[in-house]
Amino acid sequence: MAHLGQLGLLLALALAAYGMVAAFAGASPRRAAWLESARLAAFAVLLVVLVVNAAMLIALLTDDFSVRYVAENSSTATPVFFKTLSLWASDDGSLLLWNLVLAGYGAAVAWRFRRDRPAGFPVALGVMFLVQSFYLLLVNGPSRPFATLATAPLDGRGPAPLLQNHPLMAVHPPFLYLGFIGFTVPFAFAIASLVSGSQPDRWVEVIRGWTIAVWTFLTVGLALGALWSYSVLGWGGYWAWDPVENVALLPWLVATAFLHSVMLQRRSGMATLWNVGLVIGAFALTTFGTFLTRGSVLTSIHAFADSSIGPAYLTFLTVVLLGGFGLVVWRLPLLRSPARMDSLLSREAALVGNNVLLLAATGIVLLGTVFPMVAEALFDEQLTVGRPYFESAVTPVFLLLLLLMGVGPLLPWRRGTPGRALQRLRLPAVAAALLMVVLTLAGVRSTGAVVGLGLAALVVVGTGRELVRGVRRDGGARRVLRGSRRYGGLLVHVGLAILAAGVIASSALGQEGEVTLAKGETATFAGHELRYDGLQTDRQPNRTVLTVALTVTGGGGDELRLDPRLNLYPAASEPIASPAIDRGPVWDLYTSVISLQDNGDSATIRVLHTPGVNWLWLGALLMVLGGVLAGWPRRVRRRRDPATADGHVPPVVATGARP
């Protein structure tokens, strides 16, 4: 298997390099055959990388410990499910998956544009191959996933305990990869539009479509990561402002900014330069994030230690930044599009505000994440920039964004009048005000939480009403699908507001505590009575599970059994806690074992009573649905009437409005 894998990786690299050359050569219309062969190379790369991944999978499943990766990340006692997941549990293996996803995107681009090809398509394909070649080069040199051991050990070390503790590990990384790596496609098309110098407006539709898909994947990936953190890690939170979480959030923020400012370009021909910059920026940030995660700069649950490929990433990042923004500067005259603001009370102005705030959030998170590394590298000072810092620095920006989300979508394009805007805002504003009064009377003392929840209500009511009104007016699912962009966008807003309400409620209105209970003893926490009934020990092949049986009596007298656990893995010095959660529409009761004393005669439990956590998952789900709706391909309609089919100004207006 090791030889097959190694050979496959070499072959894939050769194919990708060939594809790159053939695609760039095929840019000349006289060499159409070259382009055709480059397209075939994209499928060939996918096939070979698939075989390589399969080879690693077989090595893992057959306990082939002569492969170092298998010996380090699997063991005979590891269940088959987690053996499979070991494919991406560590740096070398996850680079194989990375290459697979990237090759998948390459093949998808080659397939999607098999017939109608926008001018400059060869360059885009070439850039895809260029990026693929870089990542294939990594697994052929600096990282060697198929390196073998001279003497195969009898058993492997097994995967990191935290990574074999929950099935969510099966879905979080692949979705995050689909999101992260997907930014290569918009980037490739942005570069192609710059190189070919064709009217960038023609690219806007293509780039927008792929960005929405990628944004949706990344949203799923981030939400699953938060869900994993909450359900597995036992600290009761879902977002730690860990540097690696931050770098995953950065491209999401920039992509969100792009999906908004692209409307300026499609509607009024504005912001062309800006949009190309955002696409390149988003891709550069994913590369930067990869460098931080894999380049041995960071240590965290996400970081893969002992990687000697930091310099390679840094070089690639420099190429991306210099190449991308160099091209932008070169094409400056072509891209410069005059900004026109008919009114400050217009959708256009709101979109500018959206970009200002999203980029401010990006800047704050980026600088905060990098600051400790710079401080240590340049000034030899060890400082930490953590959760309280980010929360206080970013919260005002996010609150302003919520306010803008409440107002912006209700403003008309081009020109609004204060009276009209006020009229549309009246109901949502009253709803928000009422909620704020009720919350204050109910005893909520955090001003930030009251304002934030009020703003979330402003968005949900205002946007929700637009959504309901629009769907009712259009009637019929097919016609709704036709206006899917607008409805998709509004649905994302409603979802995000619900998510924001969940974040605000859970971080400001929850209670947390620690109780130590002897067997049979009862303690009271946040209106609940907790009784420790005893400890069960269960020896499994790969671990020992200690289950703490708790009986919880709620305010209404109903009894409930919660079983938080401690898992002991032979490879881990400390036990890994598995929380037990009673999830409810408003309140979650979260229990996690901190320690056991006297052979389990007494247990110390961390208890949290947190509101709104399920709103988070609901909000994320709505956002994803909205993303799917907004990105829904609309080929049927285009044939009927290209100009006015859905009430959106088609890009042709943007081109027409330009000299």
């Binding site: 036992g234 009761g236 939170g237 730690a240 860990d242 965290s300 005059p338 900004a339 026109r340 603001m341 102005a349 500018v352 505000g353 200002v356 705030l357 401010a360 800047g363 704050i364 600088l367 905060g368 600051f371 000072e381 400082l383 930490t384 920039v385 953590g386 959760r387 309280p388 206080s392 620095a393 006020l422 009229q423 009246r426 504003a429 009253v430 005000a433 009422l434 704020m436 009064v437 204050t440 009377l441 003392r445 001003t447 009251v450 009020g454 620690e514 996690s592 320690s595 100009a643 006015t644 009430g647 959106h648 100004v649 088609p650 042709v652 207006v653 027409g656 409005a657 330009r658 000299p659």
Partner: protein, 172 residues
């Protein structure tokens, strides 16, 4: 618009303004109402601001590592003994160095970290304002954007008109 509807609109507006004023009043009242944090709340707040030195990304309040537990116990004891928040934090900085603080100290290099968000926000605000102002200027005349309509062909104009008509339909 009929007189009755106009009156209704006005009444609605008055109600809306009243509701907003009540909300603002409630907020001020809520924010200024007397509330001394309990010892437990104080201890949790202090622990949330300290890094658990043996963990990678969790605070001393969130981690279940033995050292974090120890820190929590120590904080609780000191709070109960009447030591001030600032003094408790200083004690941990002396023991583990300034990197134990999850928000960098407000002096020396740490001050830069505190200035960064302000600078970013200021730059963003200036950039956004510049776009809006130049956009307004382009519309009012003299800007490069004003010459545009002359370049539109008649087909373009028809398309624009149709699209605009559709827009108005879409957003009543």
């Amino acid at each position: 618009m009929s007189a009755a509807r106009l009156a209704g609109g006005r009444l609605g507006l008055v109600l809306a303004v009243l509701a907003l004023l009540t909300a603002a009043g409630a907020l001020v009242w809520g924010a200024t109402a007397d509330r001394a944090p309990t010892d437990q709340e104080r201890a949790t707040a202090i622990a949330s601001g300290l890094r658990c030195p043996v963990c990678t990304d969790l605070s001393a309040a969130d981690s279940s590592a033995p050292l974090a537990r120890q820190m929590r116990t120590e904080i609780r004891q000191q709070v109960a003994a009447g030591v001030s928040d600032e003094e408790i934090r200083r004690g941990f900085v002396e023991a583990y160095g300034p990197s134990v603080l999850l928000t960098p100290p407000a002096d020396g290099l740490g001050r830069v970290a505190h200035l960064l968000p302000v600078l970013v926000l200021a730059a963003a605000a200036v950039g956004g304002a510049a776009v809006l102002v130049s956009g307004r200027r382009a519309v009012r005349g003299g800007g490069p954007g004003t010459a545009e309509p002359d370049h539109r062909s008649s087909t373009d104009r028809t398309l624009v008109d149709r699209a605009l008509a559709d827009l108005l339909k879409e957003e009543p």
